[in-house]
Symmetry: C2
Subunit: 654 residues, 2 copies
């Protein structure tokens, strides 16, 4: 019996179509103009660092210079090409819901340009081609060569699948072959892995598309040799010249920062740079799925557990420090010196999706949802032209300005960045969001995400999901099953419902059976109408008391959305409010606010200082009864600049 697959899926969700339309109307054209140095913008440097005032991004210029179409020097980071590739990937996905001849011409020409830059052996990284071809593959710790080509490979696959453009795919396979020629255990090859994981994701995808065994072998090689020699980078750096860091300072980070201090499969925990960690995890989980490698999956389980149960912010953000953009340690989750890079939240979605491919368990979809509706989505403004690299949970613009260890936690999104990985990462996630709605196992269709859509499956089944999620609580699912062969359907029951849901099947109340967090149903009729209602009442969430920064506080959540307070809605300094635990929290939908959001009005007490003195003897605080106004976290920083806080101090009423 042939494997059941998803044939097509069209997003109909007003919420998500809004974002997807924004991508095609604003984000893609905007990013294209930036990459062509045609936008008049201010570029934020290292988050909180000096703004870069020179040319925009030089991405396309680098490609043209590398091909000899114009004169000039390379400009940017060694992975600058990848901005174009992620943009291209996002564009490719967008054709599925927004065919656009003009954009198609641009992207086809971009493919041609890229093909023209690619060298005979398949190599393509413009930094090295323009500036220092003698240094190719010689400083893998920092060169991002596999990372850069890996992003093309992902883009090339997406473009080929969207348009049938076979040149796009050929560029990708030639890159993979080039890497295969140069890396491996055989004599004459380099035995080591790129300092920034990414190629693992790309090669796994390439294998799945082409079924070429060499690509699976190659990715398994990288996963099994990364960190085999913890001194690999040190040796390469020495041979390449210790003073010759390609990215200043990167030589100082230890191998653990690059997850290369030992074989990942043997590690208890992966440390270091957060985006590298989650990309590596995503690649490992993908390979584990393809090869049914239990040891690899075990390692992924360990990494998943540590991140999600000890090192993840409530918004889904990961990465506790700007110094290294890295994980730190268990339960170390400061809200104002946090990093929570947008790319890392996007990467968590990739990781979670691959884990779901290994094992049916709702906790993966819970994290996908958390990122989609909070930590990843907050990376973009509502106008599609401003972005966050860092996604803090507590911000005071005055402190951001004056305290250097908070300066990376901006309270206003930037127009662009010197290192511009985040905007295009978010764009490609949003334009491919439909691919996260379903998971099809051997015999079950899982509805994993509550994103309104119309889908068709290879066995003739069609599913339509209608909802007003995340605002309204009813999820309406219509399953059309023309062949009337029984089909297993699983619907994720999100963790925030406390396992509660109300289900009607064709109008009748049904108590279903929940397995691994999915409500399992066997549907054999020609048409089945399901209505599931989740509990969308406001929840107050606390953190484990090992997280010292959240003690005495709660976060407010409604459905999948984490909420926050913003200065613009609350006149006093945000830290002076105390949410009343025994008070009321009222949800109010405001269609004219922030594109249409449900806000929460919570009864609170506002602390009033007895005196202006800095330190005084404790007195029971004077308080005023007030309303604390909260908005969804993803929508913050779209109005007047000011303080913001996810965690709220609490008081007991009375």
């Amino acid at each position: 019996m042939e494997k059941m697959t998803l044939s097509s899926v069209e997003v109909t969700s007003e919420f998500w179509q809004g974002y997807r339309d924004l991508i095609v109307q604003s984000v893609l054209p905007y990013q294209w103009s930036v990459m062509n140095d045609q936008a008049e913008i201010v570029i934020e440097g290292e988050p909180g660092g000096k703004p870069i005032t020179s040319k925009n991004s030089h991405v396309v210029a680098n490609l043209r210079i590398a091909q000899g179409l114009e004169e000039g020097r390379f400009s940017g980071y060694p992975f600058q090409d990848s901005d174009a590739y992620k943009w291209l990937e996002a564009a490719a996905y967008s054709f599925a819901y927004h065919p656009d001849d003009n954009l198609r011409k641009i992207t086809d020409r971009l493919i041609d340009l890229i093909a023209g830059v690619q060298e005979d052996d398949g190599y393509l990284v413009t930094y090295f081609q323009i500036e220092c071809p003698e240094r190719k593959f010689k400083r893998l710790q920092q060169s991002h060569e596999h990372y850069t080509m890996g992003h093309y490979i992902e883009a090339g696959i997406a473009y080929y699948q969207a348009t049938g453009n076979s040149k796009a795919l050929t560029i990708a396979t030639r890159m993979a072959d080039c890497i295969d020629e140069n890396f491996g255990l055989e004599a004459g090859k380099i035995d080591g892995a790129d300092g920034h994981p990414e190629i693992e994701i790309a090669l796994a995808k390439l294998y799945e598309l082409t079924n070429e065994q060499k690509y699976l072998d190659l990715v398994r090689y990288f996963i099994n040799r990364r960190g085999a020699d913890p001194d690999f980078y040190a040796k390469q750096n020495l041979a390449d010249g210790l003073q010759n860091d390609i990215i200043a300072g990167m030589g100082d980070f230890p191998p653990s920062y690059y997850q290369a201090d030992g074989l990942p499969v043997n590690q208890e925990v992966l440390e270091g740079h957060a985006v590298r960690v989650v990309y590596l995890c995503a690649g490992m989980a993908h390979v584990a799925r393809l090869t049914e490698d239990r040891e690899l999956l075990s390692a992924c389980d360990r990494f998943w557990t540590t991140i999600v149960t000890k090192r993840m912010y409530i918004t889904g953000g990961v990465g506790s420090t700007n110094l290294g953009e890295a994980f730190t340690t268990d339960y170390d989750l400061p809200n104002d010196t946090v990093y929570a890079e947008t790319c890392a939240s996007v990467g968590m979605v990739f990781f979670a999706k691959q884990m779901l491919g290994n094992r049916v368990d709702s906790r993966y979809g819970d994290v996908i949802e958390k990122e989609l509706f909070n930590g990843a989505l907050s990376g973009m403004s509502l106008d599609g032209k401003h972005f966050f690299y860092v996604n803090p949970l507590e911000v005071d613009p005055e402190i951001t300005k004056k305290n250097p260890s908070r300066k990376h936690a901006l309270s206003r999104r930037a127009e662009w960045f010197g290192c511009a990985c985040c905007p295009s990462n978010l764009a490609r996630l949003i334009t491919s969001v439909e691919s996260y709605i379903y998971e099809v196992t051997k015999d079950t269709i899982l509805i994993d995400q509550f994103i309104a859509n119309k889908a068709e499956f290879s066995n003739g089944v069609a599913i339509e999901q209608v909802n007003h999620f995340p605002w309204g609580q009813a999820i309406q699912v219509t399953v059309v099953n023309p062949l009337e062969k029984p089909v297993k359907l699983g619907i994720r029951i999100p963790d925030w419902t406390n396992k509660g849901y109300k289900l009607t099947v064709n109008g009748k109340d049904v108590v279903g059976s929940v397995e691994n967090g999915y409500l399992m149903l066997l549907l054999g009729e020609k048409e089945t109408q399901l209505v599931i209602e989740f509990d969308l009442s406001v929840k107050l969430i606390q953190a484990n008391h090992s997280v010292r920064y959240d003690i005495g506080k709660v976060a407010v959540q409604r459905g999948p959305l984490v909420y926050c307070t913003e200065q613009v809605d609350n006149p006093d300094s945000l830290w002076k409010y105390r949410l009343l635990l025994e008070g009321e929290q009222k949800s109010v939908h405001r269609p004219d606010l922030l594109g249409g959001v449900t806000v929460i009005e919570a009864e609170a007490a506002l602390l009033v200082d007895h005196s202006e003195a800095l330190y005084t003897e404790y007195q029971a605080p004077m308080t005023e009864k007030v309303t604390l106004n909260l908005i969804p976290y993803y929508a913050w920083a779209n109005r007047a600049e000011g303080q913001m806080s996810v965690w709220q101090h609490v008081a007991i009423k009375g």
Copy 2:
């Protein structure tokens, strides 16, 4: 009528004599061996940075090399000489209570060595003499030349006053004359000030000793020209070579960091490096006192107010960030990324003392006391051989290890530092602590500090103070007045008593008159016995609610001592304890603990997590009734390494 002066004062306080004995028995010999590269120690680098593993400190070696007594290169910071000078100053003060022939030989020889290094024009900074004489005075932003010589001037004055060694004073005046020759408004002179204030304090002292007008003119010149040209440092740096930072990176700090972005007397607030700020303030206040300059005093008032009412930690620590070792902004007082450099707390004592010299007001003595008993004293271990540069209010050693923005907040004092300014600063403060006990105005003797002592005044009055401070509440003051001429006596009423005190005069209860925070008495009898009792009950202190990190918390204080919890006394993670506001806090004196301290046992609730999950729906916490054990903050980090916290979460009983 001649001005009344303090003739002599001998510290009899067990508490302070213990520290003063420790200085002469341990600290001075230890520091001397370090400066002679004879100690086997580990040197902490930049706080939290890489340990320096090479030679100890090269201080004496630099002097010997500069004089040509040995071959070699300079090693250390450009201000390395000042370690020797502050040590010398501490030794000089120690002779008053611990005459020591061996030490005297060493210090006399050191004076000779220094004299031999001094150049004909009076210049002495070994870095430039050894490495680059052509760069003298050419990079004032970073050279610390006036800073270094200023510290000698202070030491030379102290040494001359302690021993009569006139060579010591001559070295100082020649240094001052050298600076006078080279700096000023006249043609051919350099018109600018040293990047690190210090010379102002030194010249003011030199003027007071010598009465030479030129020194007063010189210090007024520096105060009135600092920042007159905000580009002064930039121009010098350019001429000296932009790439030639003497201390790497210092060229990047803006003029405000050096309090040189405008005339200090015109500034609302002084920003930047905390030690520079407080040294400048001390110098300005000293000059304001000498010249009765009201505009200057006004500026000092503004700076005092901002620091003490908006930017000072409850321990007396100042400096909210390690990045720049600097102030940040009002109410920005994070407890774990704090800097609170020991030197800055020592500098606050200098500033406060000079303010008291300008104006009788108890708030200055309150800060002196706070620093002496908390923020400065915590800089040294009980064994006198380990020191803190940074004095945090919240530490978790695991987080210090793993989170780079907390790595400067050590939980164990270091044996020495690459930049070793703090240990000798604390040593000279402790060995001169008697100079802070009294303030003699035109007609009043103020008892400003509760440090047991015997003192004699120029009008024949003798005062003896006996107490068990900070443990016991009774201060016994015997005033012997042989001439029976009425003498005005003022006794500071500390802010922590809430203005409460019990006074008996010759056994009779008296309600005194308090002016500007001093209990004023007119004493005419041959002998008067005063007993003052202060309220030493435990106080719970809160911070202004603008300090967001302290919301929902209290600090525990008893008398002048701020208390803290340490892991070694409290089995669970410290952040899980909630002090019960309506519970009991018991003081218990433990003579065998930490050299003999009063500890506080507070009723508390220990939070117990309902589950291991990271985020759960809020439930009223499960708690256990426990005792929270606190020790004086100055005594922390002398036992097993672990967490520490000054601020305690609170709960209402019931």
